[in-house]
Symmetry: C2
Subunit: 270 residues, 2 copies
């Protein structure tokens, strides 16, 4: 499981403040802690109005880059911000995101192809998220036709089946799992990713829902996720799921993580 | 998910002491708490030497029965103890267990058929547990040929695919899931159950392994399990898994359990 660390996001109040005040220490520390927690990418979302976003995104990138050794995930709906950001990154970034929306594809795909980026592809269409896995697969099929035509290899595409909250649709997780199975069946080379926390929006005791959804999604083939890498409970769920699914030979990672204090002490008792 | 409450087991020191001292209050309280936590059956295992086991089992049953309103799961390898116990139970019990062992089947099956009991069938043979799901399915097939011949309907059989510890075999959970899928495919009317805690024997941070295994086993069709119903973490995993798998309409059980304090407060934050 590859983690896309989600914490540097300007829609979060404390991060917005740090961006406004150019508080580099806060941002650097948030970046470092996520890297130390095992992130494969750091998501960077300025979350500021379109006219300020390019500058803010560049400031974030130039603040973070000197202290980390992993690539960034550039998270923006703003083509200009992405174009500016791609020019200042040290490592080839993951782009978050494209969808079946033609305008968006037309704008972002050339950038992705030119810089050989990886990209997250959402199973939605002009802001509409289909209810069934068949329709979501259809959209992913259309997006992949476009990425292939642009010269982006399937291995660079991270498909997000989309998880709506269970609070309004009891089948929402099941549809996400079905979509994952369908995508992997039809497009075996692509990756699967997901923005994890939507699934529990509006529900109480969200962490139990999130970690359970993650476990079942990993079984369905999820190989990366946008989540909070500083959430010990989530990290414990990933380690335990890899162990149970037979992906942790001789239990080495699990036992090592336990010795390093990754689990709550209460966990030591069965 | 139907829970078989596991706590009244004489192989546990405190329970052994209560049995030896005929401490009815302790046993009654342990029974009541498990019922209040939502058990569908209470497992009763005297765990004493064969000559004492019938008396001890009858004492346990007669102590527990007046204070509970659910059936018992009679857990004994001792035919005489089972024969004696079946005569004193108020409600038709679940018998724990039979396997592919011919001697055991010959002894216990007539009892099960005569009293219309439900029964747990282990996917093992004369104390040997096959490594592959194919061989485990084969054993379950042989056991079901015998239960059918004895007049026991498939719906009364709870098949346990067996979970060996991941500490010695990284594929142990995966083999259990494969066995579950195979059993449900070939024998759709039977139930699936499991003794949960074996999976993490010898590992650190066992609760994370147990709850993750439970989540994935429920996805594979598990509809009951022998576990500690007083373990809040396990109950939270069951509630969250039923929610995520779309088996909790309008999230009613989950939200209700949250209001009743079923989750750790920490869980309220996503």
């Amino acid at each position: 499981m590859q983690i896309i660390g989600e914490k540097i996001n300007g829609t979060r109040k404390r991060v917005a403040q740090a961006i406004a005040e150019r508080d580099a220490d806060f941002i650097k520390s948030l970046a470092l802690r996520q890297v130390e927690a095992g992130s494969a990418w750091l998501d960077v979302n300025a979350g500021t109005p379109p006219d300020r976003e390019p500058d803010d995104l560049v400031w974030l990138i130039e603040t973070i880059q000197p202290v980390i050794d992993i690539p960034l995930c550039l998270d923006s709906a703003n083509l200009k911000a992405l174009q500016t950001a791609v020019e200042v990154v040290d490592k080839t970034p993951l782009i978050n995101s494209i969808s079946g929306e033609p305008e968006r594809l037309k704008g972002v795909l050339p950038l992705i192809a030119k810089h050989d980026c990886q990209v997250i592809a959402l199973a939605m269409d002009e802001k509409k998220i289909p209810e069934t896995s068949e329709r979501r697969l259809e959209i992913i099929g259309r997006v992949l036709a476009e990425t292939r035509a642009a010269g982006v290899p399937d291995e660079h595409v991270y498909c997000d089946p989309l998880a709506l909250t269970l609070a309004t649709n009891a089948d929402s997780a099941v549809v996400a799992f079905q979509t994952m199975h369908a995508i992997k069946k039809h497009f075996p080379a692509v990756h699967l990713t997901i923005g994890l926390s939507n699934i529990s929006f509006g529900l109480p005791a969200r962490k139990y829902v999130n970690r359970t959804f993650l476990t079942l999604a990993m079984q369905a083939g999820l190989d990366s996720a946008i989540l909070d890498p500083l959430d010990r409970d989530m990290q414990a769920a990933i380690l335990a799921t890899e162990l149970v699914l037979g992906r942790d030979e001789h239990c080495l990672n699990y036992v090592r993580a336990s010795r390093a204090g990754a689990f709550d002490e209460k966990g030591q008792k069965a």
